[in-house]
Symmetry: C2
Subunit: 342 residues, 2 copies
Amino acid sequence: MILDMFNHLFPKSYFDKFINVPGPKDLGKRMVNIPSIVDLDVRFRIMDEFGDYAQIISLAAPPLEAMAAPDKTPDMARLANDGLAELVQKHPKRFPAFIASLPLNNPEESVKETTRAVKELKAAGIQLFTNVNGKPLDAEEFRPIFDEAARLDTTIWLHPARSAAFTDYATEKKSRFEIWWCFGWPYETTAAMSRIVFAGIFDRHPDLRIVTHHLGGMVPYFEGRAGLGWDQLGSRTSDEDYGALLRSMKMKPLEYFHKFYGDTALSGALPATRCGIEFFGPDHVVFASDVPFDPTPGQFIRESIRVIENLGLSAADKEKICSGNAIRLCKLGASQLAGVAK
Amino acid sequence: MILDMFNHLFPKSYFDKFINVPGPKDLGKRMVNIPSIVDLDVRFRIMDEFGDYAQIISLAAPPLEAMAAPDKTPDMARLANDGLAELVQKHPKRFPAFIASLPLNNPEESVKETTRAVKELKAAGIQLFTNVNGKPLDAEEFRPIFDEAARLDTTIWLHPARSAAFTDYATEKKSRFEIWWCFGWPYETTAAMSRIVFAGIFDRHPDLRIVTHHLGGMVPYFEGRAGLGWDQLGSRTSDEDYGALLRSMKMKPLEYFHKFYGDTALSGALPATRCGIEFFGPDHVVFASDVPFDPTPGQFIRESIRVIENLGLSAADKEKICSGNAIRLCKLGASQLAGVAK
């Protein structure tokens, strides 16, 4: 059985109201041209190729807070989450669970929606974006969202968001060639993970579960820098006392990064996937495809399965990565899984 | 024999005049506290541990252009390169060759200094920083420097530079926790590589040799995004015709990234080093330690050797990575190598 832990769709009600409409340049533009992002018939035909395969569903970018003001996003989140919950209810064999969206530019309502989605709608967790219109996730105002996720013992999925740093990046004008997407997004994920670590969120909530997209961003490849480099944190800075910060932390910086989970959404890169699994360990990696953003429909699922099959993993580790860890992170019961494996 | 292709020092004349002086905050501050960055006795004692080991030397950051105006940096570059050349002449067994620094905020003088350093001082190549005070390397004004490197058939070393994007990164204030250094620098390298690719510099100079620090930045880990992702370049953009750009390129984007070289300066990360070697291939990876920025003296050299020894490489591949590729890239002759291997 394969449970795909990070893939993207829009419930039709949300798509019609907020995505397939005239809007700010680029926002959602691409989505309108991908049928399976909203059309279930198309989506199911693609999924059929992969046998005992089901999706834990979540909204695609853009984040709600990039599209509307704080007085509007709470209603958008409710519409989205009601729609996602309905899809799970109607198609439990395809979608055993969903990840709730939040109105992140309204932290108070985000906490309420987290509670509602998890308690009433049975969401498997919440999706956070790596910055909230440029504000980092370790800002004090977002702390109650992490607290509520910990209180409910629910899982956080971390998805990159474009930030001004990449729009205006290092040029006369702006980031060209979609570098902001190809490499800026994984950098974003990495910066957010770093801020979560240094803000002490894992010291506050040692059992918090955070699934990072694209197999942990840059962390596995640059574990040496995060290790031997950050053991010297403060040596390159003159205006903050990072020595005191290091001493206040319960573990070395690198050790905290091992607490995250990574998904396999690396677009079919085998050596990188091996590197990521070696970093996080087979208990902290989950299968994910990132569909429907593949060049041809189903290609990312096919490629991700090919990689997993060719890594030389033990049967036990493969089972953990393909479904076991997902079942644990989403707290899926036998009834929710009954239909998936034929 | 091991030739360390990216490590950093300052000739004493340059250090005394430009580094160990009151200056802009943070610039060079850290360097003053690392004895082996300028003191040869200390440096040689560290090197002695590693047997047939020698260094291709280059200046450490900060880049010249971050420290002085365009009318001042040409003299700084000449002083630096004369000092590096003198070190090579005096200590050929320790330093078989050097990499020239350029006054990058003065492109015309950079071209002249490239010619002088390679022709008169016998430099093994030139060091470019990934942005020039925020200007990307694919800006038209820097094109003559690539042209001159190609004309002289000399090698380029690419080192990350801090950019405003990371200083001001995605927060109310600025990039905290030295994320700009730990992950921002490799992102910088990756963005510069991408711009070099899409600017068509390899189409213009197919045999150009560019050594990227930290084993190719993020490219090996995110080869899937650069591959299947960038094959769809343009789908996320509304204001530039990237479809026409793709059609104008001689190869797919990812293929160009294989033309770069990577160094092993990953601070002792074995799975990442394996991933990087699988991406670039053993003909395009060179040994580098990034000393003297290790927590304890010699640690990065020791760790990098340990990684190379434990990768299960063939003897032939190990020889290429440790010295063979360096000899080719630096065009080292028998006389220059005579003293290194005892």
